[in-house]
Amino acid sequence: MAYDLIVIGGGPAGYVGAIRAAQLGKKVACVEMDRAGGTCLNWGCIPTKSLLKNAEIYHLLKHQADQYGLKVEGLSYDWDKVIGRSRSVADRLAGGIEFLFKKNGVDYIRGEATLESPGKVAVTDSAGAKTVHETTDILVATGCVSRPFPDFPFNGKTVIGSKEAMVLAEQPKEIVIIGAGAIGIEFAYFFNAFGSKVTVVEMMPHILPVEDDEVSKTLEKSFKKQGINILTNTKVTGTKDSGSGVEIIVEGKEKQMLKADTALIAIGVAPVLPGGMELKADRGYLVTDDTYQTSAKGIYAAGDIIGPPWLAHVASWEAIQCVEGLYAGGTPKKVDVFPGCTYCHPQVASVGLTEEAAKENGIAYKVGKFPFQASGKAQAVGDSEGFVKLLFGEKHGEVIGAHIIGPDATEMIAELGLAITLEATKDDLEATIHAHPTLAEAVHEATGQAYGHAIHIPN
């Protein structure tokens, strides 16, 4: 029996694309070699958010209990249970996706897929048996894995990627994290909160290099206060793995050797291509046209495998664009504006242009900023680090960028994403009543600040 669409990969691009196609009345199969949910659900977004919540609670009780008038004696933790909770959350959600497949009539095929030819996908199951499935269209959504550091291979114990980092059997006493992107920064917060000695090494001048400089600098200050050792403008020039620990030579302001139990490599990701047919790729990532079609007719691709930004929400969006373009008669759009979130504490979230990007592109803009120090809600909950920073087009006042560092920043960014999509201007933000007391009031006040109307801070 021939399918309309076979999706290869069951991550945020694959499973979402498969379900959407089924909703549009197509006969769909989704092939997954590991477990539905992909990196995001099994080894990324979801289990790390579970770990980070544990870390935040522990850190709060350990360092701030007194501030809240709490007396905690004999505070300790069970590492296995910390890891265990994270795994059980992932397990539960992965089961949820299999249920959604059933409910939507998507055939879930376990095994490793190979592109035989356009319209033919071979699947080899765990027992080695090979079945060839016929289909009209194919959507490749095979994703990425952690990129290894040159000459410093992963070994699952002393040199690890993010996947191993979330299931370490023993907590490292000292850990060096190479790369200060979102993944490196989240693990730095996690291990530091549980008392590991953490050093972060970053080549670029700031941690979270894609974020607005002001945000990166604020986070850097906060992390240093939390006891994290941060080495920016620093290159790794030598590595040694003794099997029981690592030695890493770094060169920044000065040359030094870092010793640790474990090195976490967080320098980016590498594509996982399906076997079989060769498709046109650029630096390993599949090249797609405006309809997400690869170099082969009838073979489409979406998600991490087509290149940056490597974000679950972007992957799902791309898959829906592609599938709707195929079966709903729409014109697919390529990703343009997307939010980015980092779930350390304080949280970081942004959407649209950074101030640096606006300058580089010669866009005239206005900045509005409001510190959580001046927010009643932030003071009440005892979490007033950070600020909301908004960028508006100079001439018409449309929102062109939003940068939040502070409590619940990742939840607050949605409003600004909507503002950019709808091309809202400062007038619309100002005209919207924001509930009191909420952290979101800071968005309203930051808008006012840009135009000299903020009430709670000098303009």
Binding site: G393, H396, G397, E398, T421, L422, E423, A424, T425, D427, D428
Partner: protein, 420 residues
């Protein structure tokens, strides 16, 4: 029963009408004979009366929009009556689509700007789905949002749609002229292609807009220039010997007469503004000055308060600085009328194109010797100067223009009056 109110035939030559404004709103009770809207035809703006009783249920054509003869303007229902099921069809098809929509334009929405063919969003409450930013840019550029197809979420009009849209005349409701493809010349091997300078682009845009969007009409008179020539000679001789010597040109007197006539007939010192006429408090004269690459029109401000000497000095200063390209941008702005003088080039008579958004322009030709019949019915040698006045009929009617020219003639033929 439900009644469709259609565009009535209000003049013999009318093929379409512009709905200037609705005098009633949806929900209002309508009685036979009641004035419900103002319609502008090719001739005049008239009020439209209701032929039926009922409740005005829905308006299909909004103020400022056009509809062809018989085009559906609104839906009238009896009290308590439900709108008919085909209401939707009526509304979306309310305006018979003219032949302009034959092919779907993939490039831009320009094709839909054809007169009379209004896209879907206009029906019903005229809610146009457009982003706040798109609205701001549209307002700034004078883009009519009802004539754009949106490409944003759910067909919403977003920034790029407005930026790609044709710009309508800044303050005019007429259809943009861009619907017609440009007629291009054949270029031979020895021909030169000279790219437009900024100035030529502006001249092209503004004068095309003027000729296509402003209903011009022309008045022409010959004035007796002999008294003016004599008077000027006398004044120049006297001025030569005075402390603040100034050589007065014929043009100085003409400008003075143009200004003083506008003070006497203030209806001409005005502009058309979509749904109103703006009458200006000051008379600001734009003086057409030929420069190397074209033409500029610097402005003598508050000319009604200036003496002949002040006008003479202003125009000398502006012309000199215009030729030296040393005028500030605001010195071109805010003119309320224009004088174009080709007398020095030996032109016998001409009419000029109105400098929008002004309502008229005065064209001055050379003073020439010509046989004239004098008061005693004798043919004698006279000095005559042809004056042309081009008027925007939306602002100036024939009689008002004639009144203005009569005053102008009185001043030129009795020049001492200009010094009073």
């Amino acid at each position: 029963m439900a009644t469709i109110i259609e565009m009535p035939k209000l003049s013999d030559t009318m093929t379409e009408g512009t709905l200037v404004r609705w005098l009633k709103n949806p929900g209002d009770e309508i009685e036979v004979g009641m004035e419900i809207a103002e319609i502008e035809t090719d001739k005049a703006t008239m009020s439209m009366e209701a032929f039926d009783d009922g409740i005005l249920h829905e308006i299909y054509v909004q103020a400022g929009e056009k509809a062809p003869l018989g085009g559906k303007l609104a839906l009238l229902l009896e009290d308590g009556e439900e709108p008919p099921a085909l209401d939707k069809e009526i509304s979306s098809g309310s305006i018979p689509v003219t032949a302009m929509e034959e092919e779907e334009s993939t490039e831009s929405a320009a094709a839909t700007s054809a007169v009379g063919s209004l896209p879907e969003p206009v029906s019903g409450g005229a809610r146009v789905k457009a982003s706040p930013l798109a609205r701001k840019i549209a307002a700034e550029r004078g883009v009519n949002l009802t004539q754009i197809q949106g490409t944003g979420p759910g067909g919403r009009i977003v920034k790029r749609d407005v930026e790609n849209a044709p710009v309508a005349g800044a303050s005019l409701v007429a259809a943009p002229p861009s619907a017609v493809a440009a007629i291009r010349p054949t270029i031979g091997a020895n021909d030169e292609r000279i790219p437009l300078t900024g100035m030529r682009t502006i001249i092209a845009e503004r004068l095309l807009a003027s000729k296509t969007q402003i209903p011009h009409f022309y008045l022409n008179i010959d004035v007796n220039a002999a008294p003016l020539l004599a008077f000027r000679q006398q004044i120049n001789q006297a001025s030569e010997k005075s402390d603040n010597a100034n050589k007065y040109t014929i043009n100085d007197f003409i400008l003075k007469a143009v200004v003083q006539s506008a003070v006497a007939v203030p209806d001409v010192n005005a502009s058309f503004d979509v749904d109103a006429i703006i009458r200006f408090a000051s008379v600001n004269v734009s003086v057409a000055v030929a420069v190397d690459e074209g033409l500029v029109t610097p402005v003598i401000r508050d000319a009604q308060d200036k003496s002949l000497l002040e006008i003479s000095r202003s125009v000398k200063d502006l012309a000199a600085r215009a030729r030296a390209k040393k005028l500030a941008p605001d010195e071109f702005a805010g003119g309320t009328l224009t004088v174009s003088n080709l007398g020095a080039y030996g032109i016998d008579s001409f009419d000029a194109i109105i400098n929008p958004p002004q309502a008229f322009i005065i064209a001055i030709s050379s003073i020439r010797k010509t046989p004239v019949v004098d008061a005693n019915d004798q043919i004698v040698i006279g000095q005559r100067m042809a004056i042309g006045m081009s008027c925007d009929h939306r602002v100036i009617d024939g009689a008002v223009g004639a009144q203005y020219l009569a005053e102008f003639r009185r001043l030129i033929e009795n020049p001492a009056l200009m010094l009073l």
